[in-house]
Subunit: 337 residues, 4 copies
């Protein structure tokens, strides 16, 4: 058995744990040859590869990121890319690829027609076909710890503290950190928000309840008032507000409309780095081992997912579109829409 | 609607989060009167009670333990206990009790015949009828962080480090911390272990792989050699080895049989205290809210549980016996049996 | 003995620990009456005051912020402010004030002519007359932990990660987090930096050493090229670059000049909140107790400071101007100037 | 310039940071050849050595322990040991040794007559001639975090929680963790304690103040009643109480004499492992660099120490005897004697 392995898309905590499991179990226990590619599909395209042994994965379990490197390169969008991938695949006489990534990275295997077993990772937790993706629980924990810290200043200065967290298409981090840290308002990509309703809630909170307020905003949250996004905010090349984006806009609007002192914090990249929490280490280890077993059984072209505590395969066709928050999680008043 | 609420059994992180959710949602949003009892069923027995309002639960979300206090008192085992409980129940004109506890604490409601909705908590994660109990993920995270720390000394001194973690009847903490921290050997209550096999594994590890070894032992792990438990170990009133128990025994045997320098650390109570991780805060909040909804719907005599990401009721009859590790988690060589 | 106490200026971890020490030791052990004022000098101005007892300080030792609240109000700059402060002082028949704050907050006591014993706090660590101010070691630890996390992404994506930390006039946080986390470049307020030298260092690092680079920038660092601050950066009312300030500018320039993928993270308010580290808890407790002793000895008009491990009084006249990094800390190449 | 380097005695967080600074600054910047010896003086005895370059120290700054390994071997106590050390010294043509260790490890250089510059490390903080040793602030922080966690259970169950921390001859960790976590009683090696006074304090605390109590005990604390150490406690080969030692004894006595439910936790090795706090990383880096400078200046036979924020040399003759807590730290009622 000859297995390729790569990590693609944004990095996250737990990738190294998955790689370690694949090498320790796949190579050392089951005898497969494991070829690691550098920087996601980029390394397949350029045949930048290395046979991995147990020495390569020693000590990496608690470390964030991926020792193989990662990128968002998609060979099928590159002239001659499919052929180059298939050539690399042939050179190494691979039986198939274990692809650790989000929906796009895994789907790439279909575009380039190589047998694949996908392992879902993304701090946003928005891959369909699994209860959780590698990296999410760590990111949500980091965001929670940091929102916890904002209470000190909110309370000591009677301020409104706005915290922007990751989550472009799905609000899992925002929901988890918001509920876990007891935010007064949570704004998520799933539902456009009404800034006036937000200000109303904050006035009630500050006047009646606790003299300060905490607002958690996913980076993908959008206002129903399009005008909020227009006039004087500096925008980047894609027309997206620069530096901090929606969190900064929300903070400015709250300050302007309520008169309360308001500050914004944009957590940014610290959410995706550092040592994974126990949940992600165990999830990554289990997904890695079971992907190897699945490969030995010849069960290609699935993604391994977590389902009620068990690891099970899902057909690739079922993992389309971002997995957003299910309706039953919406029944809390902190989430305004 | 008049609801009693109590926390029983050993304390754990997330109890305060559940109490907060019940008071904020049940009282402030849905209008119920919520009566909190001190120290579990002890407070019902003695009618030590207090009506809870939002002021009682302010700021407690991130705090460990339970502000109501807790105990293992079981009224039905006390002369006249059932009558005293029922009298308290009548005095407060309760519609039912929300009981946050393990199997025994929840089952007590059946013995004393009061309507109950159970909310599962236990760091051991061994309550049936739910994918996770409040407190477990925090305990597993603490244990993982501390086993991580033992690597420094193991590596610097070429030692075998044995770490005893909690888990009397089920090995969830041991499994999670062991896999997450990359232990070489994991000993769990589910399978009696052979100390000779343990020593064999350690010799291989130390000689062939990394010059040191990490062993995680659940407090409830037992050896197949009964003699190991006998002769010169000091025992407590129950005949259980004193001070550190099985972890110390395992460390001494490994040291004696392999000749390697071996040290034991017994994590003890630090595993059950302090601020809950995000997972437990969200789980506790969801269980608390859904228990209130269930009470308003009159759906008594169930436990609310987590099932594949959803909160659902389980009949009390189904929550018997400790929930041990499922077989598919056993397929790793670190777990010797 | 009747003592007033207030916390002024920006909040920081350890203020509650200092208040607790003053009340527990000053009131409960030595019998003083302790009057706490709300929101720094604002509460003295408005006579918003409360006699503090041991119940007010129970459980606050590990909590960030200040339960008294804080503000930057300076009575001597307000029409009639000095008189109002002196009236409040008389109403409570105070012997003097224990003022927990930075240079300005402590100096205010001189302006309004009340006896004072100052206790230095500021996460920036820039108060003269003490080896360390309350809050600094916590802020430096948080910043270090978060820069640690940025390594994962830097390494996995071969990126330059720029991290802006607090420190307007003194670079203590930037120096500590930069050295502790092993940054390749550290930019501090003490020395204007040459962006070309920065880019040169980064090119060397990325090409010769490790394929990525970490840059730590204090918010008060300034470039020698004034033009860098001018043309297309959005500025706030004070002409200061908006949202992220110098960190964002540095990141954009590095990206533009070197061609390396570069990202910025602005840590912001998370650096000043949450539970204090052990160092700050002990420092705050010692400063609080010794300030009480000093008051009982009648030794007013000093600030208590840490000097080589001992707490000693410093005349107020000696605490002028920000305490910047001493020259011997500059002898490292990471700090470019 | 040819420099030997070793780490001796118990491992602690920050050793790797010091080694990294020595190699990066001494070798890469100043051009010295740096020879690393395995396992402290044992590696010099056996000439187990390796020339260190920047690749050996990459990524080790945040890691606990020492990649060189460590031991307590003292060549001058071994037949022919002095000669073997001097032979190794000659083989490598060393100008001198940089010795990272406690008093004994550094003093060994005098016994074997090689030029030495010492760098103090010990989590106990008991090396004379420096305000702080590498490792202490990390150990004190870990202990504080863990005592914090014990509050949950103490409070929820109305218990007395006893926590044994490291510190054989000096109570720095016990003092710091005890004060920082707000312990009710702190027992240190510096002063034999009266168990009756301890029980009196605990009764007052539990009855009058907060229904539970927290006791921090250094491993080296001793009772004034010798009988307490005698009859039924299992002792080890050195006559020292087995498994948990004094903490367990104190807990049993408190439980027996007061009737309060009492539990003990022995923190053990987790206090000396894992990632160093920022303070230790910076201290280790500064000590390492300044030791190199000192070697280039030919200023052998000193230890580099921290003095009021500066790194300065101390003659070896001045670093004798354990550095215990200074009297001014004793003026708190928690410390019973």
């Amino acid at each position: 058995m000859r297995l390729g392995v790569l990590t693609g898309g944004g990095d996250c905590p737990g990738l190294n744990a998955a790689l370690r499991a694949i090498v320790r179990y796949g190579h050392a226990e089951r005898g497969a040859t494991v070829i690691g590619f550098a920087d996601g599909w980029r390394g397949v395209l350029d045949n930048e590869a290395k046979e991995l042994t147990i020495d390569d994965v020693r000590g990496i379990l608690p470390r964030g990121g991926t020792f193989l490197g990662t990128s968002g390169v998609q060979p099928h969008r590159i002239e001659g890319g499919v052929e180059r991938v298939r050539e690399t695949f042939g050179v190494h006489r691979l039986d198939g690829m274990l692809v650790i990534g989000g929906e796009g990275t895994i789907a790439e295997a279909v575009w380039v027609s190589v047998p694949v077993i996908g392992i879902p990772k993304t701090i946003d937790n928005d891959v369909c076909g699994t209860d959780a993706s590698i990296g999410f629980h760590t990111a949500a924990q980091i965001a929670t710890d940091l929102v916890d810290r904002l209470y000190s200043t909110a309370e000591s200065h009677d301020r409104v503290m706005v915290c922007e967290v990751m989550g472009r298409h799905a609000g899992w981090i925002g929901y988890t950190a918001g509920v876990a840290a007891g935010a007064d308002v949570i704004l998520l990509p799933e539902h456009p928000f009404d800034i006036e309703a937000v200000c109303r809630r904050i006035r009630e909170t500050v006047v009646l309840r606790r003299s300060f307020a905490i607002v958690v905003v996913s980076e993908g949250a959008t206002p129903i008032e399009a005008s909020m996004l227009v006039p004087d905010y500096p925008v980047d090349a894609n027309g997206f507000p620069r530096l901090g984006g929606i969190g900064s806009i929300v903070a400015e609007e709250i300050g302007r409309r309520t008169g309360f002192e308001t500050r914004v914090t944009v957590l940014g990249h610290v959410q995706r780095g550092g040592s994974p929490v126990a949940f992600d280490r165990v999830l990554a280890t289990r997904l890695g081992r079971d992907a190897v077993d699945r490969a030995f059984d010849g069960g290609w072209d699935v993604m391994m997912g977590l389902h009620a505590g068990r690891i099970e395969p899902v057909p690739l066709a079922e993992i389309q579109g971002p997995r957003t928050l299910p309706p039953e999680l919406w029944q809390i008043p902190e989430i305004l829409c």
